[in-house]
């Protein structure tokens, strides 16, 4: 669709931890202004994949390319410097720190010089509040407020706003909607769209098909560490995607089974299989 080289690409990447092979022959690309949804069941290797993309892990084999050039990220910082911002699953914010201090953790604005460089709290708070407000979280007005008092969606939005602010070209979000309610998830999805509109390449990880369909341009389904399907928006229906994620076992059949069971058992669902 675009003649420009993809912003970020993986070519035949394998990742193993000692004897455990987690990723096999992963090839993926993501372009500017595009959302790549990475779908997969728990344990499929989604987090491992994005940790490899963000310099937390090194690929065991294979190449990673940025703008067509081969790259390596020995440390997370190297990936960040190349413009890859990652919001890891279960992380990114510190509950007992203020909004401003959270936003700038690891990249604090300072004023003064030499040993008297002071952390510029006012500037940190002001920018942090501005940036989260731009993302539509208008309830955060006080940069001194502790993050632990925010809702899950607000915390997630803060982490995303932070990633976007630090000049990311590629935004990687690991299950940002997993722990959220419907409304908060919708908010995060809006932020993903906003990031895309600004021309960022987004890799959005989820195991909720509806969330993926709401924002994705391009989809990849990961099963036991390998890409089982790779398709574009509109090429597959929700049911087909759900079936793929379930590993070929048809979700529709499963649902039909459950309904059949309930009809013959006074509306009770079947007991869990194991």
């Amino acid at each position: 669709m675009s003649d420009k080289a993809p912003v970020l690409e993986m070519r035949n990447v394998d990742k193993s931890f000692g004897p455990i092979d987690v990723l096999h022959e992963i090839s993926l690309k993501v372009h500017e202004g595009e959302v790549l949804c990475l779908l997969g069941d728990n344990g499929a290797g989604k987090s491992t994949l994005i940790k490899t993309l963000s310099g937390v892990h090194q690929p065991t084999r294979g190449q990673m390319m940025m703008d067509g050039q081969e790259v390596r990220f020995p440390r997370p910082r190297d990936a960040q410097e190349m413009g890859i911002a990652t919001v890891h699953q279960f992380g990114g914010t510190y509950p007992l720190m203020s909004v401003g201090r959270n936003f700038f953790a690891g990249a604090e604005p300072t004023k003064g010089f030499g040993p008297f460089k002071v952390f510029d709290r006012q500037k940190a708070n002001q920018i942090a509040v501005e940036e989260v407000q731009k993302m539509g979280i208008t309830r955060i007005t006080d940069g001194d407020r502790l993050v632990g008092g925010l809702s899950g969606g607000e915390r997630q939005s803060l982490a995303i706003a932070r990633a976007v602010y630090f000049g990311a070209r590629v935004l990687i979000l690991d299950e940002p909607t997993a722990a959220l309610g419907v409304k908060q998830a919708a908010h995060v999805l809006r932020i993903v769209n906003e990031a895309k509109r600004r021309g960022l390449a987004v890799i959005f990880i989820t195991h909720q098909v509806m969330h993926a369909m709401a924002v994705g341009d391009h989809f990849a389904v990961l099963i036991r560490g390998a890409i089982a399907a790779d398709f574009r928006k509109g090429e597959k229906s929700r049911e087909e995607i759900a079936d793929l994620m379930a590993g070929g076992e048809s979700m529709a059949d499963l649902e039909a089974n459950i309904e059949g069971y309930m009809e013959t058992h006074d509306g009770h669902p079947p007991p869990p299989a194991h």
Binding site: G92, Y94, A105, E108, R145, G149
Partner: protein
């Protein structure tokens, strides 16, 4: 009222309430406050534990702990006394020797803490016991005794080990206050303080955010061990001698004062002001008992109760801080 509410949300809140509570208790127990405030015993003691409590508090905010400090106070004292007392080398070497042994043991603690998955309590328990052995055996081997005399020149006494105000206040009180200001600046007004909070809040996220977690952790361990050996060095200069001792009391007293000072045991929360007041409060409880008719052994009961109350208050005030939203003016 609004100012009072702001105060309650600060990490130092519980320590200030503890301090007031302890003073009120002592007034009822018959202490004359002007006598207490004029006395040096508790201020000297506050400085002794307070100097070490500052870096220990920061280390605990970062989610680690160091109990080898108990061995490092006598180690600093013995090093100074052996070098400049027994071998009669200039005091500068004794001072540098004491600081060097702090840096060395702190580095060992720090490197083990970041390189292995052994819990820091166990690592520093090992270095605690090891250093107790090294100090005793080293002192016996080199000097043939467990107590070494030292005669420091006047300038060294003036700076590190003298009494002030023509009375019995030790000069390390000044060191404590200066160090507290430096630590306060470092923790609350530089980016390094932010890193320490982040490391204690979520180490994995801090690493992902590019914060040099390992370097920072090693630095904090070096600071705790060196602060302890510094205190030992000052005492050997003040008392003209150094003895081998276990230092077990110091470990508990320092950690209790840090916790009373509002530092969260699991890391991520606390303040230098709180740590400072915590040491002050602890010292008043510990030494203030001598100003009452109460048997001094009861002071430990008071410390136990104070610890529980302070931790309870810390929980409460932290919840207050978390749920607080400032109204738009």
């Amino acid at each position: 009222m609004e100012n009072f509410a702001v105060l309650l949300r600060r990490p130092a809140a519980a320590s200030i309430v503890s301090l007031i509570g302890v003073l009120v208790f002592y007034v009822f127990a018959g202490v004359e406050l002007d006598k207490l405030f004029g006395a040096a015993s508790w201020v000297n003691y506050a400085a002794r534990i307070g100097i070490v409590a500052l870096p220990v508090g920061l280390l605990m905010i970062s989610g680690e702990i160091d109990i080898s400090i108990g061995a490092m106070i006598p180690a600093g004292a013995m090093t100074t006394a052996i070098i400049s007392g027994h071998y009669d080398l200039p005091i500068v070497f004794g001072i540098l020797g004491a600081l060097a042994i702090g840096v060395l043991v702190g580095s060992i603690n720090g490197i083990l803490a970041v390189r292995t998955s052994v819990p820091p309590l166990i690592i520093t328990l090992a270095t605690l016991v090891a250093m107790q052995g090294v100090v005793l055996a080293g002192s016996r081997l080199l000097t043939g005794s467990a107590s070494v005399p030292l005669n420091a020149p006047d300038w060294a006494k003036t700076i590190f080990g003298n009494l002030m105000f023509g009375g019995s206040h030790q000069v390390i009180i000044v060191w404590w206050v200066i160090l507290a200001v430096i630590f306060w600046f470092f923790m609350h007004h530089t980016k390094y303080g932010n890193w320490i909070y982040a490391i204690g809040g979520d180490k994995e996220s801090a690493r992902n955010a590019g914060i040099p977690v390992n370097g920072m952790t090693i630095l904090l361990y070096i600071m705790t061990a060196t602060a302890a050996s510094f205190v030992g060095m000052c005492h050997s200069i003040l008392f003209n001698s150094a003895q081998v001792s276990g230092g077990m009391n110091d470990i508990f007293n320092i950690i209790v004062s840090v916790v009373v000072g509002g530092v969260l045991l699991t890391g991520g929360f606390g303040s230098v002001a709180g740590i400072f007041v915590g040491a002050l409060t602890f010292a008043i409880v510990n030494k203030g008992i001598d100003f009452t008719a109460i048997d001094r052994n009861w002071s430990n009961l008071i410390i136990g109760i104070m610890l529980l109350l302070a931790v309870g208050m810390n929980e409460k005030f932290r919840k207050l801080a978390l749920s607080h939203v400032s109204k738009k003016k």
